[in-house]
Symmetry: C2
Subunit: 227 residues, 2 copies
Protein backbone atom coordinates (compact mmCIF):
# COMPACT_ATOMS: atom_id res chain seq x y z
CA UNK A 1 0.00 0.00 0.00
CA UNK A 2 2.98 2.29 -0.41
CA UNK A 3 2.33 5.71 -1.88
CA UNK A 4 3.14 6.53 -5.45
CA UNK A 5 6.68 7.83 -5.20
CA UNK A 6 7.18 11.56 -4.87
CA UNK A 7 10.44 13.42 -5.13
CA UNK A 8 11.84 16.35 -3.21
CA UNK A 9 14.53 18.79 -4.26
CA UNK A 10 14.18 22.54 -4.66
CA UNK A 11 17.03 24.02 -6.57
CA UNK A 12 15.15 26.47 -8.73
CA UNK A 13 13.53 29.81 -8.99
CA UNK A 14 10.24 28.99 -7.37
CA UNK A 15 11.13 25.57 -6.05
CA UNK A 16 11.22 22.49 -8.22
CA UNK A 17 8.05 23.21 -10.13
CA UNK A 18 8.41 20.27 -12.47
CA UNK A 19 8.25 17.88 -9.55
CA UNK A 20 5.49 19.88 -7.88
CA UNK A 21 3.36 19.61 -11.00
CA UNK A 22 3.85 15.87 -11.25
CA UNK A 23 2.95 15.53 -7.58
CA UNK A 24 -0.15 17.65 -7.96
CA UNK A 25 -1.23 15.56 -10.92
CA UNK A 26 -0.58 12.38 -8.96
CA UNK A 27 -2.75 13.75 -6.19
CA UNK A 28 -5.58 14.36 -8.60
CA UNK A 29 -5.28 10.98 -10.17
CA UNK A 30 -4.87 8.92 -7.01
CA UNK A 31 -6.96 10.81 -4.49
CA UNK A 32 -9.72 12.17 -6.65
CA UNK A 33 -9.48 9.30 -9.13
CA UNK A 34 -9.71 11.86 -11.86
CA UNK A 35 -7.65 11.03 -14.91
CA UNK A 36 -9.13 13.79 -17.04
CA UNK A 37 -7.68 16.68 -15.09
CA UNK A 38 -6.83 19.86 -16.91
CA UNK A 39 -3.40 21.33 -17.08
CA UNK A 40 -4.74 24.49 -15.56
CA UNK A 41 -6.15 22.62 -12.60
CA UNK A 42 -2.77 21.09 -11.96
CA UNK A 43 -1.16 24.53 -12.16
CA UNK A 44 -3.75 25.89 -9.73
CA UNK A 45 -2.98 23.11 -7.27
CA UNK A 46 0.71 23.82 -7.55
CA UNK A 47 -0.02 27.48 -6.89
CA UNK A 48 1.31 28.84 -10.16
CA UNK A 49 -0.24 30.50 -13.15
CA UNK A 50 -1.81 28.49 -15.92
CA UNK A 51 1.15 28.89 -18.21
CA UNK A 52 3.96 28.09 -15.85
CA UNK A 53 3.86 24.37 -16.68
CA UNK A 54 4.94 25.14 -20.22
CA UNK A 55 8.39 25.92 -18.95
CA UNK A 56 8.78 22.27 -17.95
CA UNK A 57 6.52 20.37 -20.31
CA UNK A 58 6.16 21.35 -23.90
CA UNK A 59 2.62 20.02 -23.96
CA UNK A 60 0.09 18.43 -21.68
CA UNK A 61 0.90 14.98 -22.96
CA UNK A 62 4.42 15.29 -21.60
CA UNK A 63 3.09 15.89 -18.10
CA UNK A 64 0.82 12.90 -18.49
CA UNK A 65 3.83 10.93 -19.63
CA UNK A 66 5.74 11.86 -16.52
CA UNK A 67 2.81 10.86 -14.32
CA UNK A 68 2.49 7.57 -16.16
CA UNK A 69 6.19 6.97 -15.72
CA UNK A 70 5.83 7.41 -11.97
CA UNK A 71 3.01 4.90 -12.07
CA UNK A 72 5.10 2.39 -13.98
CA UNK A 73 7.92 2.80 -11.52
CA UNK A 74 5.62 1.97 -8.61
CA UNK A 75 4.29 -0.96 -10.57
CA UNK A 76 7.80 -2.21 -11.15
CA UNK A 77 8.67 -1.92 -7.48
CA UNK A 78 5.63 -3.88 -6.39
CA UNK A 79 6.12 -6.61 -8.94
CA UNK A 80 9.76 -6.88 -8.06
CA UNK A 81 9.05 -6.97 -4.36
CA UNK A 82 6.39 -9.63 -4.72
CA UNK A 83 8.62 -11.73 -6.95
CA UNK A 84 11.55 -11.57 -4.56
CA UNK A 85 9.40 -12.48 -1.61
CA UNK A 86 7.98 -15.46 -3.49
CA UNK A 87 10.99 -17.55 -4.35
CA UNK A 88 10.81 -20.06 -7.18
CA UNK A 89 9.74 -18.97 -10.67
CA UNK A 90 6.23 -20.38 -10.51
CA UNK A 91 5.50 -18.64 -7.23
CA UNK A 92 7.17 -15.47 -8.43
CA UNK A 93 5.05 -15.52 -11.57
CA UNK A 94 1.84 -15.76 -9.60
CA UNK A 95 2.91 -13.28 -6.95
CA UNK A 96 4.06 -10.56 -9.30
CA UNK A 97 0.95 -11.02 -11.41
CA UNK A 98 -1.21 -10.58 -8.37
CA UNK A 99 0.73 -7.49 -7.38
CA UNK A 100 0.23 -6.12 -10.86
CA UNK A 101 -3.53 -6.54 -10.87
CA UNK A 102 -3.77 -5.26 -7.31
CA UNK A 103 -2.01 -2.06 -8.22
CA UNK A 104 -4.28 -1.53 -11.21
CA UNK A 105 -7.44 -2.24 -9.30
CA UNK A 106 -6.45 0.00 -6.42
CA UNK A 107 -5.53 2.88 -8.69
CA UNK A 108 -7.83 2.59 -11.65
CA UNK A 109 -7.49 6.19 -12.70
CA UNK A 110 -3.71 5.99 -12.73
CA UNK A 111 -3.80 2.70 -14.58
CA UNK A 112 -6.13 4.16 -17.17
CA UNK A 113 -3.81 7.06 -17.61
CA UNK A 114 -0.79 4.78 -18.01
CA UNK A 115 -2.34 2.80 -20.83
CA UNK A 116 -5.08 5.09 -21.97
CA UNK A 117 -5.33 7.02 -25.18
CA UNK A 118 -4.57 10.35 -23.53
CA UNK A 119 -0.93 9.41 -23.89
CA UNK A 120 -1.13 8.37 -27.50
CA UNK A 121 -0.45 10.98 -30.10
CA UNK A 122 -3.32 12.43 -32.05
CA UNK A 123 -2.71 10.67 -35.31
CA UNK A 124 -2.72 12.34 -38.66
CA UNK A 125 -5.40 11.46 -41.19
CA UNK A 126 -3.32 8.57 -42.46
CA UNK A 127 -3.69 6.82 -39.14
CA UNK A 128 -0.03 7.01 -38.30
CA UNK A 129 2.09 10.02 -37.61
CA UNK A 130 4.21 10.79 -40.60
CA UNK A 131 7.78 10.90 -39.40
CA UNK A 132 9.01 8.19 -37.08
CA UNK A 133 7.95 10.33 -34.15
CA UNK A 134 7.38 8.17 -31.09
CA UNK A 135 3.68 8.25 -30.42
CA UNK A 136 3.96 7.90 -26.67
CA UNK A 137 6.13 10.01 -24.42
CA UNK A 138 9.54 8.39 -24.29
CA UNK A 139 9.62 8.64 -20.50
CA UNK A 140 6.48 6.54 -20.15
CA UNK A 141 7.68 4.02 -22.69
CA UNK A 142 10.95 3.51 -20.91
CA UNK A 143 9.34 3.17 -17.50
CA UNK A 144 6.89 0.67 -18.91
CA UNK A 145 9.72 -1.35 -20.38
CA UNK A 146 11.45 -1.44 -17.00
CA UNK A 147 8.31 -2.84 -15.40
CA UNK A 148 8.04 -5.47 -18.09
CA UNK A 149 11.65 -6.43 -17.49
CA UNK A 150 10.65 -7.83 -14.10
CA UNK A 151 8.36 -10.28 -15.82
CA UNK A 152 10.99 -11.08 -18.45
CA UNK A 153 13.37 -11.98 -15.69
CA UNK A 154 10.92 -14.35 -14.08
CA UNK A 155 10.29 -16.03 -17.42
CA UNK A 156 14.01 -16.35 -17.96
CA UNK A 157 14.52 -17.98 -14.58
CA UNK A 158 11.62 -20.33 -15.23
CA UNK A 159 13.02 -21.28 -18.58
CA UNK A 160 16.45 -21.99 -17.11
CA UNK A 161 15.12 -24.19 -14.34
CA UNK A 162 12.78 -25.94 -16.73
CA UNK A 163 9.69 -24.82 -14.88
CA UNK A 164 8.29 -23.16 -18.00
CA UNK A 165 8.37 -24.63 -21.44
CA UNK A 166 8.98 -21.42 -23.29
CA UNK A 167 9.44 -23.19 -26.56
CA UNK A 168 8.21 -26.46 -27.98
CA UNK A 169 11.58 -27.19 -29.51
CA UNK A 170 14.17 -24.69 -28.47
CA UNK A 171 14.34 -23.96 -24.77
CA UNK A 172 16.71 -21.06 -24.74
CA UNK A 173 15.49 -19.17 -27.72
CA UNK A 174 15.20 -15.51 -26.93
CA UNK A 175 12.26 -15.01 -29.22
CA UNK A 176 10.36 -17.79 -27.48
CA UNK A 177 10.89 -16.18 -24.13
CA UNK A 178 9.62 -12.91 -25.54
CA UNK A 179 6.44 -14.63 -26.62
CA UNK A 180 5.95 -16.26 -23.25
CA UNK A 181 6.50 -12.92 -21.57
CA UNK A 182 4.11 -11.17 -23.87
CA UNK A 183 1.47 -13.82 -23.27
CA UNK A 184 1.68 -13.40 -19.55
CA UNK A 185 1.63 -9.64 -19.76
CA UNK A 186 -1.37 -9.76 -22.07
CA UNK A 187 -3.33 -11.92 -19.67
CA UNK A 188 -2.54 -9.77 -16.68
CA UNK A 189 -3.05 -6.48 -18.48
CA UNK A 190 -6.28 -7.62 -20.06
CA UNK A 191 -7.61 -8.92 -16.78
CA UNK A 192 -6.80 -5.69 -15.01
CA UNK A 193 -8.55 -3.67 -17.66
CA UNK A 194 -11.65 -5.84 -17.61
CA UNK A 195 -11.89 -5.63 -13.85
CA UNK A 196 -11.42 -1.87 -13.86
CA UNK A 197 -14.03 -1.45 -16.57
CA UNK A 198 -16.31 -3.67 -14.53
CA UNK A 199 -16.57 -6.12 -17.38
CA UNK A 200 -15.39 -9.15 -15.39
CA UNK A 201 -17.92 -11.28 -13.61
CA UNK A 202 -18.79 -9.42 -10.43
CA UNK A 203 -19.92 -12.33 -8.36
CA UNK A 204 -16.37 -13.63 -7.99
CA UNK A 205 -13.82 -12.25 -5.60
CA UNK A 206 -11.11 -10.44 -7.48
CA UNK A 207 -8.32 -12.28 -5.77
CA UNK A 208 -9.54 -15.75 -6.66
CA UNK A 209 -10.22 -14.50 -10.16
CA UNK A 210 -6.65 -13.35 -10.54
CA UNK A 211 -5.25 -16.51 -9.06
CA UNK A 212 -7.24 -18.75 -11.34
CA UNK A 213 -6.46 -16.80 -14.49
CA UNK A 214 -2.78 -16.73 -13.68
CA UNK A 215 -2.76 -20.45 -13.03
CA UNK A 216 -4.39 -21.17 -16.34
CA UNK A 217 -1.77 -19.09 -18.09
CA UNK A 218 0.90 -20.82 -16.08
CA UNK A 219 -0.33 -24.26 -17.06
CA UNK A 220 -0.12 -23.18 -20.66
CA UNK A 221 3.57 -22.52 -20.12
CA UNK A 222 4.35 -25.73 -18.32
CA UNK A 223 5.99 -28.48 -20.34
CA UNK A 224 3.76 -31.46 -20.97
CA UNK A 225 4.74 -34.98 -20.19
CA UNK A 226 5.38 -37.08 -23.27
CA UNK A 227 5.39 -34.54 -26.08
Amino acid sequence: MSEIRRGDTRPYHHGDLRRALIDAALDLVTEEQDWTFSLREVARRAGVSHNAPYNHFSEKRDLLGAVAAAGFETLRERMQGAALRAGDPRAAFIASGKAYVKMGVENPALYRLMFGPALAAANGPAGRNLEGEADRPAEARAAGARAKAVLDEIILRGAETGAFAVSPDNKDNKKERAIASLSAWSAVHGLTMLIIDDLAAQDLAIDTLVTRVLHIMLEGLVPRRGQ
Copy 2:
Protein backbone atom coordinates in the same frame (compact mmCIF):
# COMPACT_ATOMS: atom_id res chain seq x y z
CA MET B 1 -12.63 -6.43 -44.10
CA SER B 2 -16.32 -5.53 -43.99
CA GLU B 3 -17.23 -1.99 -43.09
CA ILE B 4 -18.45 -1.05 -39.66
CA ARG B 5 -22.20 -1.39 -40.00
CA ARG B 6 -24.16 1.70 -40.87
CA GLY B 7 -27.93 2.05 -40.82
CA ASP B 8 -30.30 3.76 -43.19
CA THR B 9 -33.82 4.99 -42.51
CA ARG B 10 -35.06 8.55 -42.66
CA PRO B 11 -38.42 8.91 -40.98
CA TYR B 12 -37.85 12.20 -39.20
CA HIS B 13 -37.78 15.91 -39.39
CA HIS B 14 -34.37 16.32 -40.90
CA GLY B 15 -33.69 12.71 -41.72
CA ASP B 16 -32.59 10.22 -39.11
CA LEU B 17 -30.12 12.46 -37.41
CA ARG B 18 -29.30 10.03 -34.66
CA ARG B 19 -28.05 7.53 -37.19
CA ALA B 20 -26.33 10.25 -39.21
CA LEU B 21 -24.40 11.36 -36.15
CA ILE B 22 -23.28 7.86 -35.34
CA ASP B 23 -22.19 7.39 -38.93
CA ALA B 24 -20.29 10.66 -38.97
CA ALA B 25 -18.55 9.68 -35.76
CA LEU B 26 -17.72 6.27 -37.19
CA ASP B 27 -16.22 8.00 -40.20
CA LEU B 28 -14.02 10.11 -37.99
CA VAL B 29 -12.91 7.19 -35.92
CA THR B 30 -12.30 4.69 -38.71
CA GLU B 31 -11.12 6.89 -41.56
CA GLU B 32 -9.28 9.60 -39.71
CA GLN B 33 -8.36 7.32 -36.81
CA ASP B 34 -9.33 10.12 -34.50
CA TRP B 35 -10.99 8.95 -31.32
CA THR B 36 -10.89 12.37 -29.66
CA PHE B 37 -13.34 14.05 -31.98
CA SER B 38 -15.52 16.80 -30.64
CA LEU B 39 -19.27 16.68 -30.60
CA ARG B 40 -19.29 19.86 -32.61
CA GLU B 41 -17.12 18.33 -35.30
CA VAL B 42 -19.53 15.44 -35.60
CA ALA B 43 -22.44 17.85 -35.88
CA ARG B 44 -20.58 19.79 -38.56
CA ARG B 45 -20.02 16.63 -40.56
CA ALA B 46 -23.67 15.75 -40.28
CA GLY B 47 -24.52 19.23 -41.51
CA VAL B 48 -26.41 20.35 -38.44
CA SER B 49 -25.82 22.95 -35.79
CA HIS B 50 -23.65 22.24 -32.79
CA ASN B 51 -26.59 21.68 -30.49
CA ALA B 52 -28.72 19.40 -32.63
CA PRO B 53 -27.08 16.24 -31.25
CA TYR B 54 -28.53 17.01 -27.84
CA ASN B 55 -31.94 16.02 -29.10
CA HIS B 56 -30.70 12.47 -29.54
CA PHE B 57 -27.94 12.08 -26.98
CA SER B 58 -28.16 13.66 -23.60
CA GLU B 59 -24.40 14.01 -23.44
CA LYS B 60 -21.36 13.30 -25.53
CA ARG B 61 -20.69 10.07 -23.71
CA ASP B 62 -23.94 8.65 -25.01
CA LEU B 63 -22.87 9.23 -28.58
CA LEU B 64 -19.57 7.57 -27.82
CA GLY B 65 -21.49 4.70 -26.29
CA ALA B 66 -23.50 4.25 -29.45
CA VAL B 67 -20.35 4.27 -31.56
CA ALA B 68 -18.73 1.76 -29.25
CA ALA B 69 -21.82 -0.42 -29.47
CA ALA B 70 -21.55 -0.44 -33.26
CA GLY B 71 -17.93 -1.48 -32.87
CA PHE B 72 -18.83 -4.32 -30.51
CA GLU B 73 -21.48 -5.51 -32.92
CA THR B 74 -18.95 -5.72 -35.73
CA LEU B 75 -16.57 -7.48 -33.39
CA ARG B 76 -19.23 -10.00 -32.51
CA GLU B 77 -20.02 -10.68 -36.15
CA ARG B 78 -16.40 -11.31 -37.02
CA MET B 79 -15.77 -13.57 -34.07
CA GLN B 80 -18.93 -15.47 -34.77
CA GLY B 81 -18.10 -15.84 -38.44
CA ALA B 82 -14.58 -17.02 -37.74
CA ALA B 83 -15.81 -19.51 -35.15
CA LEU B 84 -18.45 -20.98 -37.42
CA ARG B 85 -15.98 -21.32 -40.27
CA ALA B 86 -13.53 -23.09 -38.00
CA GLY B 87 -15.40 -26.10 -36.70
CA ASP B 88 -14.27 -27.83 -33.54
CA PRO B 89 -13.90 -25.86 -30.31
CA ARG B 90 -10.11 -25.66 -30.36
CA ALA B 91 -10.06 -24.30 -33.90
CA ALA B 92 -12.97 -21.98 -33.14
CA PHE B 93 -11.14 -20.65 -30.10
CA ILE B 94 -8.06 -19.80 -32.13
CA ALA B 95 -9.99 -18.45 -35.10
CA SER B 96 -12.25 -16.14 -33.16
CA GLY B 97 -9.32 -14.91 -31.10
CA LYS B 98 -7.44 -14.07 -34.26
CA ALA B 99 -10.48 -12.29 -35.64
CA TYR B 100 -10.72 -10.31 -32.42
CA VAL B 101 -7.14 -9.12 -32.49
CA LYS B 102 -7.33 -8.41 -36.19
CA MET B 103 -10.31 -6.16 -35.75
CA GLY B 104 -8.59 -4.26 -32.95
CA VAL B 105 -5.35 -3.84 -34.83
CA GLU B 106 -7.09 -2.72 -37.99
CA ASN B 107 -9.22 -0.18 -36.15
CA PRO B 108 -7.12 0.98 -33.25
CA ALA B 109 -9.01 4.21 -32.77
CA LEU B 110 -12.34 2.45 -32.58
CA TYR B 111 -10.94 -0.18 -30.26
CA ARG B 112 -9.53 2.50 -28.01
CA LEU B 113 -12.88 4.18 -27.93
CA MET B 114 -14.65 0.93 -27.09
CA PHE B 115 -12.50 0.26 -24.05
CA GLY B 116 -11.05 3.67 -23.38
CA PRO B 117 -11.73 5.96 -20.48
CA ALA B 118 -13.76 8.35 -22.61
CA LEU B 119 -16.68 6.03 -22.00
CA ALA B 120 -16.18 5.73 -18.27
CA ALA B 121 -17.99 8.18 -16.07
CA ALA B 122 -16.07 10.99 -14.48
CA ASN B 123 -15.93 9.61 -10.98
CA GLY B 124 -16.73 11.60 -7.91
CA PRO B 125 -14.02 12.28 -5.34
CA ALA B 126 -14.73 8.98 -3.65
CA GLY B 127 -13.59 7.12 -6.71
CA ARG B 128 -16.97 5.62 -7.41
CA ASN B 129 -20.13 7.36 -8.44
CA LEU B 130 -22.46 7.61 -5.51
CA GLU B 131 -25.70 6.04 -6.58
CA GLY B 132 -25.60 2.76 -8.46
CA GLU B 133 -25.45 4.70 -11.70
CA ALA B 134 -23.94 2.57 -14.44
CA ASP B 135 -20.59 4.10 -15.24
CA ARG B 136 -20.56 3.05 -18.87
CA PRO B 137 -23.36 3.66 -21.34
CA ALA B 138 -25.77 0.74 -21.12
CA GLU B 139 -25.81 0.36 -24.87
CA ALA B 140 -22.06 -0.24 -25.02
CA ARG B 141 -22.17 -2.61 -22.08
CA ALA B 142 -24.86 -4.72 -23.66
CA ALA B 143 -23.13 -4.87 -27.03
CA GLY B 144 -19.90 -5.86 -25.32
CA ALA B 145 -21.68 -8.62 -23.46
CA ARG B 146 -23.07 -9.96 -26.71
CA ALA B 147 -19.58 -10.12 -28.18
CA LYS B 148 -18.32 -11.94 -25.14
CA ALA B 149 -21.17 -14.42 -25.46
CA VAL B 150 -19.54 -15.76 -28.62
CA LEU B 151 -16.50 -16.71 -26.61
CA ASP B 152 -18.64 -18.13 -23.81
CA GLU B 153 -20.32 -20.37 -26.31
CA ILE B 154 -17.03 -21.71 -27.62
CA ILE B 155 -15.87 -22.43 -24.10
CA LEU B 156 -19.13 -24.20 -23.36
CA ARG B 157 -18.79 -26.40 -26.43
CA GLY B 158 -15.20 -27.17 -25.54
CA ALA B 159 -16.19 -28.09 -22.01
CA GLU B 160 -18.92 -30.38 -23.24
CA THR B 161 -16.70 -32.21 -25.69
CA GLY B 162 -13.93 -32.43 -23.13
CA ALA B 163 -11.53 -30.40 -25.24
CA PHE B 164 -11.08 -27.86 -22.45
CA ALA B 165 -10.65 -28.66 -18.81
CA VAL B 166 -12.65 -25.80 -17.45
CA SER B 167 -12.45 -27.07 -13.94
CA PRO B 168 -10.01 -29.26 -12.07
CA ASP B 169 -12.79 -31.11 -10.32
CA ASN B 170 -16.14 -30.15 -11.68
CA LYS B 171 -16.45 -30.14 -15.43
CA ASP B 172 -19.83 -28.54 -15.85
CA ASN B 173 -19.62 -25.86 -13.23
CA LYS B 174 -20.88 -22.59 -14.60
CA LYS B 175 -18.50 -20.55 -12.51
CA GLU B 176 -15.53 -22.47 -13.85
CA ARG B 177 -16.59 -21.78 -17.37
CA ALA B 178 -16.88 -18.10 -16.55
CA ILE B 179 -13.31 -18.12 -15.33
CA ALA B 180 -12.05 -19.89 -18.43
CA SER B 181 -13.89 -17.42 -20.58
CA LEU B 182 -12.56 -14.48 -18.66
CA SER B 183 -9.02 -15.82 -18.93
CA ALA B 184 -9.27 -16.10 -22.67
CA TRP B 185 -10.81 -12.70 -23.04
CA SER B 186 -8.13 -11.18 -20.85
CA ALA B 187 -5.36 -12.64 -22.95
CA VAL B 188 -6.87 -11.52 -26.21
CA HIS B 189 -7.87 -8.09 -24.96
CA GLY B 190 -4.50 -7.48 -23.35
CA LEU B 191 -2.64 -8.61 -26.42
CA THR B 192 -4.68 -6.33 -28.64
CA MET B 193 -4.03 -3.38 -26.37
CA LEU B 194 -0.32 -4.01 -26.20
CA ILE B 195 -0.05 -4.30 -29.96
CA ILE B 196 -2.07 -1.14 -30.52
CA ASP B 197 0.02 0.74 -28.01
CA ASP B 198 3.10 -0.58 -29.76
CA LEU B 199 4.27 -2.22 -26.57
CA ALA B 200 4.54 -5.72 -28.01
CA ALA B 201 7.81 -6.84 -29.54
CA GLN B 202 7.91 -5.29 -32.98
CA ASP B 203 10.25 -7.76 -34.63
CA LEU B 204 7.59 -10.46 -34.65
CA ALA B 205 4.77 -10.66 -37.15
CA ILE B 206 1.48 -9.90 -35.47
CA ASP B 207 -0.20 -12.99 -36.80
CA THR B 208 2.34 -15.44 -35.43
CA LEU B 209 2.31 -13.50 -32.17
CA VAL B 210 -1.42 -13.91 -31.84
CA THR B 211 -1.30 -17.56 -32.78
CA ARG B 212 1.37 -18.35 -30.24
CA VAL B 213 -0.29 -16.46 -27.42
CA LEU B 214 -3.62 -18.08 -28.10
CA HIS B 215 -2.04 -21.51 -28.17
CA ILE B 216 -0.37 -20.94 -24.84
CA MET B 217 -3.69 -19.92 -23.35
CA LEU B 218 -5.31 -22.91 -24.98
CA GLU B 219 -2.77 -25.31 -23.52
CA GLY B 220 -3.57 -23.90 -20.12
CA LEU B 221 -7.16 -24.94 -20.63
CA VAL B 222 -6.44 -28.43 -21.87
CA PRO B 223 -6.87 -31.28 -19.40
CA ARG B 224 -3.60 -32.89 -18.30
CA ARG B 225 -2.96 -36.55 -18.47
CA GLY B 226 -2.69 -38.19 -15.09
CA GLN B 227 -3.93 -35.53 -12.70
